[in-house]
Amino acid sequence: MSDQAIATEALTKRYRGDVLAVDGVNLRVARGEIYAFLGLNGAGKSTTIRMLLGMIRPTAGHAELFGTRVRPGANDLWRRVGHLVESAAAYPELTVVENLDVARRLAGIEDRRRVDLMIDRLALNAYAGRRAGTLSLGNLQRLALARALLHGPELLVLDEPANGLDPAGVIEIRDLLRDLARHEGVTVFMSSHILGEVDLLATRIGIVHRGRLVEELDSAALEQRRDRRLEVETRDIEAAETALLAAGLTPQRRGDWRLELRDEVALEAPERVAEILVSAGEPPTHLAIARESLEEHFMRLTSGQGAVA
């Protein structure tokens, strides 16, 4: 039994017109991981997800789920995989219950109680008899997630799972996914634009840019790679800058009011910086260590060409 839920080998997709959507992506996602797959629009996320689900044929390379090669007819494999690809969709003329019942039948599940269980789990009880065409975007998203979870999959492939949800819904789905991973061993492979959410949820992150996987790291490694800086504000920025330079530090101006320091000594002992400024007659009005958010890290990485990690 493979301990990898997802493994891709030089996965590549070139569309007609010589558009290289995915370029030799090697992914390894272990069972029970929550893997966030990040990238700008058009970076190749959806194409990769579709190749993982056998919806698009790779031009080169291949993908394996649980050690089984992905191909369109691998129907036994799909019993173990739940998915939400791009936007949530449902049959508008059918009710929430009927939509889930359609999914239940296609998944080959005899037990009708699974539908009720999912309605409970995704808090859709109040909408169970409503036609899907009348649902809000958030509730449609809940329905799509209920459908993805209906057959108790071992792997969830989710494209923007928090799409359309209100803040309470985002937290609810985050808790649900975390619970599934921790207590039921479900592997979650998700793409998301809500990087704050990803930061709180993912155990590993892969960043794809222009079809290439430019960085892949776990949460501890991400912590280490994040840019840290000491932010300093004083009443006279020029005088403060002169004092810090004289002390052998390398302040950088950020606007008219702020200096940033990345020197090791400043980050390890910010009180030392305060002493320098007080001695120079420029006591700080603001002194704080700032940590780069995942959003800033992502933007820093994708604004340049990026190097393969």
Binding site: L53, G73, A89, Y91, V102, A107, G108, R147
Partner: protein, 262 residues
Amino acid sequence: MTALRGALATEWLKSRRSRVPWGVAVGFSIAPLIMGLFMVILKDPESARALGLIGAKAQLTAGTADWPTYWSLLGQAVTVGGSILFAFLTAWVFGREFADRTIRGLLASATPRRTIVIAKALVIATWGVAISGWVLLLSLAIGWLIGLPGWSGSVAIQALATIGLAALLTIVLQGMTAFFAGVGHGYIAPLAWAVATVAASQVLAVLGWGAWFPWAVPAILAGAGGAEVEPVGPGGIAMVLLAAVTGIVATIAWWEWADQTG
């Protein structure tokens, strides 16, 4: 078999809940009503003129108001109308998965894609047969209500069998319509295909090739071409079956092997 049963149940539920198959049934029901009205007018043109059903100078050349004329007109209406209305039904059953973006839920599922295609085809065929049967029953009732002369049990059975066969052939020819619903990711391509086949049938029938062109065969079989057109032989029927098999195989192949970006 279990997978097919599940797929059939879901397709049947979706079609039952939609207005489209019911709309097709209502649209089809208009054919015998119009034929009936036509017969009433032919039966008594003077009364029809007096009632304002036709213009004072209208020249009626459709024939006489009797059962044989009624069957002939009905056969043409069912086959030509069926080519468009059954295509409409097929375009909806297959194309709606792309238009509603629900196709993604069908592609990576425990139910094989080919099973879903077969279930859709069977549901279309079921609706097609039911609607055709309903139209034929309605036609009989209308003909009886307006008191058409020239009734013959054997002629009626033969006419009903011919029209029924023509309707059945029209239904099985929808395979390529389903294929174009996939390729075109929606409704426009399959409907364009249906219109193109109707137009091509007219042209090829005039050129004398109608009996061999699959999409012209049902109408010719139902008497649409008149006595001048070459009658449909076993070769023509074989062409229809070949086109039907090609259509369904092409649809399955497309669902199984094409890149699904919809």
